[in-house]
Symmetry: C2
Subunit: 208 residues, 2 copies
């Protein structure tokens, strides 16, 4: 079951040890607020519960160079857990709410609890897998191909459940909503895709 980004507050991942969750504090950021800066020593681990944070630097021309756009449901700057300093700045681009863990406790939990350590690294490894799939799609020129790849990757047996707005799917695929609507309509017209509310299913034995 694939769903679009959560519209409200994302819960902490269920593999976090309860003792660690009990240590999490809530922090709110207003739009434009900076959470940390490049080079600062990390003392906390951040989970985005709502809103959006960009990890960025300023380039030689002064422009913002965005490394990452973190929405609700994601951790920030995972390498910082084991690094002496942040690699970049973190800025809220919308009003945001974070769950904040003391870094020392997070690290102690990883070191002391093998089950948590395993789940953490599996979480990281799955994120790698997700990002690689996403990069494959973004490297594709045609919207049609991106749709098909996404359904195959994120759906099951060629069927994708998507209960949110198609505009969010367009954003996930890195295309405009116009392009998405058109490609979906054309895939359906070509008999390659079946559309139902909240569901997209590829029709097999066809030719792309």
């Amino acid at each position: 079951m694939t769903n679009p980004p959560s519209p409200t507050t994302a819960p902490l991942p269920d593999f976090l040890p309860p003792a660690l969750c009990a240590l999490a504090r809530e922090q709110s950021l207003t739009r434009g607020e900076t959470l940390f800066r490049r080079g600062q020593r990390p003392t906390r681990v951040f989970f985005v519960a709502a809103g959006e944070i960009h990890l960025l630097r300023h380039g030689v021309h002064g422009q913002a160079v965005i490394f990452q756009r973190s929405a609700a449901g994601s951790f920030l700057a995972e390498p910082s857990i084991d690094s002496p300093g942040y690699h970049c700045d973190a800025v809220a681009v919308a009003a945001s709410r974070l769950r904040v863990f003391p870094l020392a406790d997070f690290r102690s939990a990883l070191d002391a609890d093998p089950a948590f350590a395993r789940r953490w690294r599996l979480f990281l490894a799955r994120e790698i897998r997700r990002l690689r799939g996403r990069a494959e799609r973004l490297a594709m020129r045609s919207v049609r191909e991106r749709i098909v790849h996404y359904i195959e990757c994120e759906g099951e047996d060629g069927m994708l459940s998507w209960s949110g707005e198609l505009k969010a799917l367009a954003a996930e695929l890195g295309v405009t909503h116009e392009a998405l609507y058109r490609a979906l309509a054309r895939l359906a017209a070509d008999g390659l895709l079946e559309r139902a509310p909240g569901c997209l299913r590829l029709i097999g034995s066809g030719r792309l």
Copy 2:
């Protein structure tokens, strides 16, 4: 110092414990050979020393749906270390050489050696960071923006050392070599980029 993909054999990462490295065996694959299949239980950890492996499935239309293209220097299917089965197939798309670790020993080392565990998760976290930067670039429409973003991200203070072929850089950026040459020439003509053999440097205080 950024360099293009290694043309020969990639060494194992230096954070792997020597005792674990001693357990690595070499395996060669011919082009087209399948290394593992979806659903199989993982018993080994694979590092690509040379060649290229694709992780893929077959979609409803029978076409290959590529999740990942692993070149020399990368591990394969990281989630499999902590999963009961492979998520997809692995096929060599070129003659390849792998370094192969017994999975049980790899896992034991992670569990028993906290320093190795920390380095492994840092390695994963950095890969996440790299992939996110790559996704940002791939989501950009213009080649020019991709070049600038890459130099800012992977270079230092706007300078990128690149001792390999520009065609490899084009592949990394997801553009054709023609498009890359043109964009580099235009950036240089606009006074925004300085080109020297093996080096690209952004010229500051300009307008993009």
